[in-house]
C-alpha cells in the first residue's frame, strides 16, 4: 500500500533494500492506498466476472509475528471490494465460483535458521499491495486446482483447503494448507493431503480441522495449529483509511482499456484465418510477456503478429513469426522479450521474399546471423 514508485520491491532485490519507515511500522507513519492496486484489483474482478462493490472498507487483522512489524495486516474483512465471480477451467471444462476478492497488505518474509536458532526478516515485501481471491469449494482434484496455472513468477501464492468425501456424502472436514508458491507444489500438497485424510478415515479416525504447512523436501504437509488454537484476529475497521468508493464510470473506464481476455483473443485470431494451433502458440508466448507492477503490459507476440499482419496475409505472417522468429529465439535460448527484430524489419523481409526480390533456397536459416 506504500507508494509504488518509491518502495515496491522487485524480486531479486537484496534483503531489506526497499523498506520505508511505514513498512517497518515506525511511529508516526500512516498508510496510503495505492491507486494502481485498486485499478489492478478492479481489472481482475472484471476479468473474473465478479461484482465490484461501490463501497468497500479496510480492516485490521491482528496477530504477533516477526514479519508483521505493525502487529496487524490491513485487509478487507467485513466489506471486500468484489463479491462473486467465475473462473473457467479450460481443460477440465468446468466453472469455479468465486466467493470474494479483497485487497490486502503483504507481510515481510521470515526465514528460520534452525542451526543458529535465528529468524531473519526481510521487509522488502512488507506493505506491498496484495489481492486475495477466495473461491468456493468447487474444485475436485489437484489437476483442477492446477488447471492452466502459471505461478512461477513468484507473484502468486495460494492457500488451499482440502477435504475428502465419498460420492453422495457431504464434504468431509477440511484442512487448510498455507503458503504454496508453485503449481507443482500445490498439486503435490493436495495429493499428499488427500491421501493423509483417506488413511485417517480408513483406520477409523476422524480428520481434525487444522491449518497445515507444506514441507517441500518431504512432499508432505505438517500441522501448524488446530482449530482450537485458531488465533482471534480481533478484526477492527482501520481508523486511518477512509472507505473505498468506486463508481460505475470508474469501472467502465477500466473495462474499456482492459486488454482482451484470452477467450476473445483466441476467437479473434482464428477469425483472421489462423489455425487453433497457431493461435495457441502466439498466446502461450504472450503469457510470458512482461507485466509491470503497475499492470502495464509489454508488447507480446500477439501484438507483434497484429502489426505484422497489417496489409499482409495473416497465414504468411504467422508462419514467419512462429517458424522463423520464434524458432531462432528458441535456438538461442532467448525469450520473446529478448527479441531485437522489429515488426518493420521482419515485415520488409517478408515483403522482399514474397515479391521475389530476394530468394531463399530454404526458408529456415534466412534469419540466422
Amino acid at each position: 500500500m506504500s507508494p509504488k514508485d518509491t518502495w515496491t520491491s522487485e524480486p531479486g532485490d537484496a534483503s531489506n533494500y526497499r523498506v520505508s519507515p511505514y513498512d517497518a511500522a515506525f511511529p508516526g507513519t500512516l498508510p496510503h492506498l495505492n491507486r494502481h492496486c485498486v485499478e489492478l484489483g478492479v481489472r481482475t474482478a472484471i476479468a473474473l466476472n465478479a461484482n465490484v462493490q461501490y463501497r468497500s472498507a479496510f480492516d485490521r487483522k491482528h496477530y504477533f509475528y516477526s514479519d508483521l512489524p505493525s502487529g496487524y495486516q490491513i485487509t478487507q474483512h467485513y466489506a471486500p471490494f468484489a463479491l462473486g465471480g467465475i473462473v473457467n477451467l479450460p481443460h477440465a471444462g468446468k466453472e469455479v465460483r468465486l466467493h470474494q476478492i479483497q485487497l490486502e497488505q503483504d507481510t515481510g518474509k521470515s526465514t528460520f535458521d534452525i542451526r543458529r536458532r535465528l529468524s531473519s526478516i526481510d521487509l522488502n515485501r512488507a506493505g506491498t499491495g496484495l489481492m486475495e481471491i477466495v473461491s468456493e469449494p468447487d474444485m475436485r482434484s489437484p489437476e483442477e486446482a492446477g488447471d492452466d496455472g502459471n505461478m512461477e513468477q513468484g507473484s502468486l501464492r495460494c492457500d488451499v483447503n482440502v477435504s475428502v468425501h465419498k460420492p453422495g456424502q457431504p464434504f468431509g472436514t477440511r484442512c487448510e494448507i498455507k503458503n504454496l508458491n508453485s503449481v507443482r507444489f500445490m498439486m503435490t500438497a493436495i495429493t499428499s493431503e488427500v491421501f493423509r485424510h483417506i488413511d485417517l478415515l480408513d483406520s477409523g479416525l476422524s480428520v481434525p480441522q487444522e491449518t497445515r504447512g507444506f514441507d517441500e523436501q518431504k512432499a508432505e504437509t505438517f500441522a501448524l495449529r488446530s482449530k482450537e488454537d485458531a488465533p482471534d484476529y480481533r478484526y477492527m475497521p482501520d481508523p486511518n483509511l477512509p472507505p473505498l468508493l468506486i463508481d460505475e464510470s470508474y469501472i467502465s473506464r477500466i473495462r474499456d482499456k482492459m486488454p482482451a481476455l484470452p477467450s476473445a483473443t483466441r476467437s479473434r485470431l482464428q477469425g483472421m484465418g489462423l489455425s487453433a494451433r497457431d493461435a495457441e502458440v502466439l498466446m502461450t508466448v504472450d503469457v510470458g510477456r512482461e507485466m509491470g507492477y503497475d499492470g502495464e503490459l509489454g508488447q507480446g507476440a500477439v501484438a507483434f503478429f497484429d502489426q505484422l499482419a497489417q496489409g499482409r496475409d495473416a497465414k504468411t505472417a504467422v508462419n514467419w513469426l512462429t517458424h522463423e522468429l520464434l524458432g531462432q529465439l528458441a535456438l538461442r535460448h532467448e525469450s520473446f522479450k529478448d527479441n531485437v527484430m522489429s515488426v518493420t524489419q521482419l515485415g520488409e523481409l517478408i515483403d522482399l521474399v514474397q515479391s521475389k526480390k530476394i530468394t531463399v533456397r530454404s526458408k529456415p536459416g534466412v534469419l540466422r546471423p
Binding site: A25, F26, G28, S66, P69, G71, M236
Partner: protein, 433 residues
C-alpha cells in the same frame, strides 16, 4: 519504550513550523503515549503546574505542587511559564484542552482532519488531533493558519475542496452574526449535561462571569440538551483503548526502540515469547491497562457488545452536535441547518482546578487510584468523538487562586468561529481583571 528512538523524519506540522521560520526550543513532557489526564504517567516524572497564586510568596521548592494536566501537560506548562509562545500537543480526548485549563493558557483542538497526523505517534487514530497551546488566542489562531493544510501523507486529511467549502461557510456565517460589532446575532448554548455532580462548585463562579459578560455584550445564551453525553465517556474509553491496543502492537523490540531479550531458556520459536519481555518492561502501567482493555474489546466475544456498541454511541454523540448547531455539518450530506440552533456551545473545560500532584516518590498507580481522573474527561471527549473544534480559554481564577478554563465548541470546520468567540472572552475577561 521509545527513549532511545530517534525518528528519521519530522512530523508535517513540525516541518510547516520550521518552514515558516519558527524556532523549536524543545520537546515537552507528556503522559506516556498520550494516556492520562494528569501527566503523572511519564518516565520523566510528573509536570509541575507553573502557575503561581497571587498570595503565594513561597519559593519554588516550597510551593504547592499541582498537576499541569495531561496528557500534553509539558506543552501547557511551557507556554504558561513563557518558555514558548506556542506549543503543540496531541488531543485524543481532551489532552490539550485540559492542561490549558489547569495552566491558564489557550488550548485548541482543531476539527479532526485539518492538521496532518503524519509524524504524530498514534494513540487512537480516529480521535487523535494535533492541538495548539498558546499564551493568547491570537497566537493560536496564527499557528492554526500555518498548520491547517492538506497533507497527502495523512489518509484522514480533509481534501482541499472540503476545506474551502467549510471555511467559506464559516466566514459567511461569521459575517452574518457580525462578531466584530454588537453580539446580538450570536446564540450560545449551555449543554445541561456538562455539569455532572463531580463538577467542583469553585468552577461555577468564573464560568458564570463569562456567561454574564457575553450576555452583556448582546449574545443570547440558552440551555441546550445533548442527551448522549452521559454515554460518551464509556464509548470513548472503549474506542480509544481498542485503537490503542492495535496501534501499540508495533512496539515489540524488533525494528526499533527498547529491546529486552528473552531469558535463555525461552522457546524462541513462539513470537510472543520474544515480544512479551520487551512489552512488559517497556510499557508503563497505565498504557498496559489500556492495551489490555482494548484487546478485550476487540476479541470475538466482546466485539459486538463493546466496540460496535461504542461506535453506535459515537454516532449518537455526533448527531447531538449536528442537532444543536444552527449550521449544517460540512462533512455530512444528511445534516441540515436548523434555524433555531446555536452557533457555539460554552461549558467549563474541567470539573475542577488543577489537582495536587501525589507526593514525590508516591506512585499514582494501582487499584487505589479513584476514577476521578477518568470522570474529568466527561467534558472533553464528546467533541473528540464528534471531531468538532473546541478551544479552552482562560476564564480567570477560582476562589482557590488557580486558573479556570471555559470551552467554546462549534460545528466541524468552524474553527475560526470558536477562536473568534474565544477572542471575545479573552478580551472581556482581561478587562474585568
Amino acid at each position: 519504550m521509545l527513549e532511545q528512538f530517534q525518528s528519521p523524519f519530522d512530523a508535517t506540522v513540525v516541518q510547516l513550523l520550521r518552514n515558516a521560520g519558527a524556532r523549536i526550543v524543545g520537546k515537552a513532557n507528556c503522559d506516556e503515549f498520550g494516556m492520562g489526564s494528569l501527566n503523572v504517567h511519564s518516565a520523566h516524572g510528573p509536570v509541575v503546574n507553573p502557575h503561581q497564586t497571587a498570595s503565594s510568596s513561597a519559593s519554588w521548592e516550597e510551593r504547592e505542587r499541582r498537576s499541569a494536566g495531561g496528557s500534553s501537560g509539558g506543552s501547557a506548562a511551557a507556554v504558561a511559564s513563557s518558555l514558548a509562545h506556542v506549543a503543540l500537543g496531541t488531543d485524543t480526548g481532551g489532552s490539550v484542552r485540559l492542561p490549558a485549563s489547569y495552566c491558564g493558557v489557550v488550548g485548541l483542538k482543531p476539527s479532526y482532519g485539518l492538521l496532518s497526523r503524519w509524524g504524530l505517534v498514534s494513540y487512537a487514530d480516529s480521535l487523535d488531533c494535533v492541538g495548539i497551546l498558546g499564551q493568547n488566542v491570537q497566537h493560536v489562531a496564527q499557528t492554526l493558519d500555518l498548520l491547517s493544510h492538506y497533507d497527502p501523507k495523512d489518509p484522514s486529511a480533509v481534501t482541499p475542496e472540503t476545506r474551502k467549502r467549510a471555511s467559506e461557510a464559516c466566514l459567511a456565517h461569521a459575517n452574518k452574526i457580525d462578531l466584530a460589532g454588537k453580539l446580538d446575532g450570536l446564540k450560545i448554548g449551555i449543554p445541561q449535561e456538562y455539569f455532572p455532580s463531580e463538577l467542583d462548585s469553585k468552577i461555577l463562579g468564573p464560568f458564570r462571569r463569562v456567561v454574564d459578560a457575553l450576555k452583556t455584550l448582546g449574545a443570547s445564551v440558552v440551555p441546550v440538551n445533548m442527551p448522549s453525553t452521559p454515554y460518551a465517556l464509556s464509548a470513548y474509553y472503549v474506542i480509544a483503548s481498542a485503537e490503542a491496543s492495535s496501534n501499540l502492537a508495533r512496539y515489540d523490540g524488533i525494528q526499533y526502540g527498547l529491546r529486552v531479550d528473552a531469558p535463555l531458556d525461552a522457546d524462541l520459536t513462539k513470537t510472543v515469547n520474544v515480544y512479551a519481555h520487551t512489552r512488559s518492561r517497556g510499557f508503563g502501567s497505565e498504557v498496559q491497562k489500556r492495551i489490555l482493555l482494548g484487546t478485550y474489546a476487540l476479541t470475538a466475544g466482546a466485539f459486538d457488545n463493546y466496540f460496535l456498541q461504542a461506535q453506535r454511541v459515537r454516532k449518537l454523540v455526533r448527531e447531538d452536535f449536528d442537532n444543536v448547531f444552527r449550521v449544517a455539518n460540512p462533512l455530512s450530506t444528511s445534516s441540515s441547518a436548523s434555524p433555531s440552533g446555536v452557533d457555539v456551545l460554552l461549558h467549563p473545560s474541567a470539573i475542577r482546578t488543577a489537582p495536587l500532584l501525589p507526593p514525590s516518590g508516591c506512585e499514582p498507580e494501582g487499584d487505589s487510584e479513584d476514577l476521578s481522573s477518568y470522570v474529568q474527561d466527561v467534558l472533553t471527549v464528546p467533541a473528540s468523538l464528534a471531531g468538532v473544534p473546541a478551544v479552552s480559554v482562560p476564564a480567570g481564577l477560582a476562589d482557590d487562586g488557580w486558573p479556570v478554563g471555559v470551552s467554546v465548541v462549534s460545528q466541524w470546520g468552524y474553527d475560526n468561529m470558536v477562536l473568534d468567540v474565544a477572542r471575545i472572552i479573552e478580551r472581556t475577561m482581561s478587562r474585568q481583571r
